[in-house]
Amino acid sequence: MAVKVIIPTPLRPYAGKQESVEFDARTVGEALSRLTTRYEELRKHLYTDEGRIRSFVNVYLNDQDIRYLQKENTQIKDGDTISIVPSIAGGTRS
C-alpha cells in the first residue's frame, strides 16, 4: 500500500531535508522502519534504545493517533498519510 509520511520541520535535517516521503508498506511500523532504514540518523529521534517510539513523538495515521488504534501494527490503506508530530516548545524567545 502506498503511504505518505510527513516529516515535521524539526526532524527534516535528519531526513535528507525532505518534507514527505512515500513508501509501500502494510503497517505503520513497517513504513516507519523503511523511513529509518533510509534515514539512519532519524532512528534515535523516533525510537528509544529499547526500540519504542519516543514519548515526545506522536504518530498519526490520517488524523488518528496510532496509540488509540493498533499502534505500530495499525494497517495502512492505499493513499493514507502518516504524520510524525514531535513536541515543540518555541514561543516567546525561541
Partner: protein, 394 residues
C-alpha cells in the same frame, strides 16, 4: 470532536458599559455573536498570559483591544534587539527595558478601560498556583519545556483551561488543553524530549510572522472560551505549515492513563520541572561534552604570532554569510562524511556560534584520531565580544 460549550463566566449582573466603552466596542456590540452580553463577559473575564514575547504580542494586543477586563502578564525578561523582528508589542526605544513595563504601557495605551496585572517573575512550582488561581483562562506562550509542563500541571490541578500555542521555524501548533473532559498537554506528550535531542541553535529560528498567526489563533480561542461560542480547539491539534500555507487537524484524546489528568493520576502537586526536563536551568545549560578549549584571546595571540592554525567552522552556510572568521566550513551534520577534508597533523580550532556544536565536532574528531584540536570557547559570539567588536552578532 466539537467540544460542548459551557460559558466560563456567568451572566454578569449589574455590570454596565460606559458610553465610551460602547463606542469603543461598537463593532463587537452590533454582532449578535458578541452583543452586549458577550462584551460584558469579556469585561468580566480574567486572562493570564504566560510569556509576553512572540506569541504574547498578538495575544496581548488583541485581548486588550477586545476588552478583556483583566489581563495578567508573566515575564521577567528585558526587551532586546533580536526580539523586534517578531515581538510587535515593543518599539525600538523599548530595547533594554523590562518587557512587562513596555507591554503594560503599550496595552494601557491601546485600551485604558482594562486592568493590567504584571507578574515580573519566572513562573515556578512555588508561585504558579498562587498566580494562576486569580484567572479564568491561562494562555501559554512560553518558549521552553519546563514552563509548558508547569503551566499544564497547574492548570489541571486548578481546573482551568490552557490555551496552547507553539512554534518552530515556520511550523506552529495550537490547541486548548485542560477543558472539562478534554485532554491535557501530558495526554499528548507524557514526557519532554531529552535535552540532547532538542534541535540545537543550528536548526532554530522562527519566521517573524508565524508567532503572529499562532498567537492570534490563541487569542481567538480565548475569546470564544469567554463568549461560550463556536467550536473550540478542544480535542483537536491544529498544525500550521506557513511555507506550504496549509492547516491540518489531528484528533487529540484524553488519555485514561495520563499521569496528570487520568483515572489514576500520579501528579497531585507541582514538581521540579527543570529536573523533570533534564536540565538545570535555561541560564546555565550544562555543556554537552567536555573537550579541550581555547579562548578567543589566546587564539588571537597565537594567530598574531604567525602560528599556522586551521580554523574549522561547523555552522550552517547561511550562518557563515552573516559573519565568519574565514574558516573552512563543514556543517556539523556533514562532518562524518567530510572529515577527510581535514589534516589531523595540523593544529585545528573548531568554532560555531556559541561553542556547543563545535564541542560536539571536537569530540567527534578526537574519537576519529585528531589530537591537536581545540574548541573555541564561547564561539564566534565570544570572538566578537573579546577580539573583534566590529563583527555582527546574531
Amino acid at each position: 470532536m466539537a467540544a460542548k460549550l459551557e460559558p466560563l463566566t456567568s451572566h454578569p449582573v449589574g455590570l454596565k458599559l460606559s458610553k465610551e466603552e460602547i463606542l469603543r466596542y461598537s463593532r463587537h456590540l452590533i454582532m449578535p455573536e458578541v452583543g452586549m452580553e458577550g462584551q460584558l463577559k469579556l469585561k468580566q473575564a480574567k486572562v493570564l498570559l504566560v510569556g509576553t514575547g512572540g506569541l504574547g504580542a498578538p495575544l496581548g494586543l488583541y485581548l486588550a483591544a477586545a476588552g478583556v477586563g483583566r489581563l495578567g502578564l508573566v515575564d521577567f525578561d528585558v526587551v532586546d534587539f533580536t526580539n523586534l523582528q517578531r515581538q510587535v508589542t515593543f518599539a525600538t526605544s523599548d530595547v533594554g527595558r523590562p518587557k512587562l513595563e513596555a507591554a503594560r504601557e503599550r496595552l494601557a495605551g491601546l485600551n485604558p478601560e482594562i486592568q493590567i496585572d504584571t507578574h515580573e517573575t519566572k513562573l515556578t512550582s512555588a508561585n504558579a498556583l498562587e498566580i494562576l488561581r486569580e484567572y479564568d483562562i491561562i494562555v501559554d506562550g512560553t518558549d521552553n519545556f519546563p514552563t509548558r509542563y508547569l503551566v499544564n500541571d497547574a492548570c489541571v490541578l486548578l481546573g482551568k483551561p490552557n490555551v496552547y500555542g507553539s512554534i518552530f521555524r515556520f511550523e506552529g501548533q495550537a490547541t486548548v488543553f485542560g477543558y472539562p473532559d478534554g485532554p491535557c498537554y501530558r495526554c499528548l506528550y507524557p514526557e519532554p524530549p531529552p535535552p540532547g535531542l532538542v534541535p540545537s541553535c543550528a536548526e532554530g529560528g522562527v519566521l517573524g510572522v508565524l508567532p503572529g498567526i499562532v498567537g492570534a489563533i490563541q487569542a481567538m480561542e480565548t475569546i470564544k472560551l469567554i463568549l461560550g461560542r463556536g467550536d473550540l480547539l478542544v480535542g483537536r491539534l491544529l498544525l500550521f505549515d506557513a511555507l506550504a500555507m496549509r492547516f491540518r487537524e489531528l484528533k487529540l484524546r484524553k488519555n485514561p492513563a495520563c499521569p496528570a489528568c487520568g483515572d489514576h493520576r500520579t501528579i497531585t502537586k507541582l514538581i521540579d520541572y527543570e529536573e523533570f526536563c533534564g536540565i538545570r536551568g535555561e541560564e546555565a545549560p550544562a555543556p554537552a561534552v567536555q573537550v579541550p578549549e581555547i579562548t578567543p584571546r589566546e587564539l588571537k595571540a597565537r594567530l598574531d604570532r604567525g602560528e599556522e592554525i586551521f580554523i574549522l567552522d561547523v555552522r550552517e552556510p547561511h550562518e557563515y554569510q552573516i559573519c565568519n572568521l574565514r574558516g573552512h566550513l563543514i556543517p556539523l551534520g556533514e562532518l562524518p562524511r567530510r572529515a577527510h577534508e581535514l589534516d589531523s597533523s595540523r593544529e585545528i580550532v573548531a568554532h560555531c556560534r556559541s561553542g556547543k556544536r563545535s564541542a560536539e565536532a571536537v569530540e567527534f574528531l578526537r574519537k576519529a584520531g585528531f589530537r591537536k584540536i581545540w574548541n573555541l570557547k564561547g564561539g564566534i559570539l565570544a570572538w566578537a565580544d573579546e577580539v573583534d567588536p566590529s563583527l555582527p552578532k546574531y
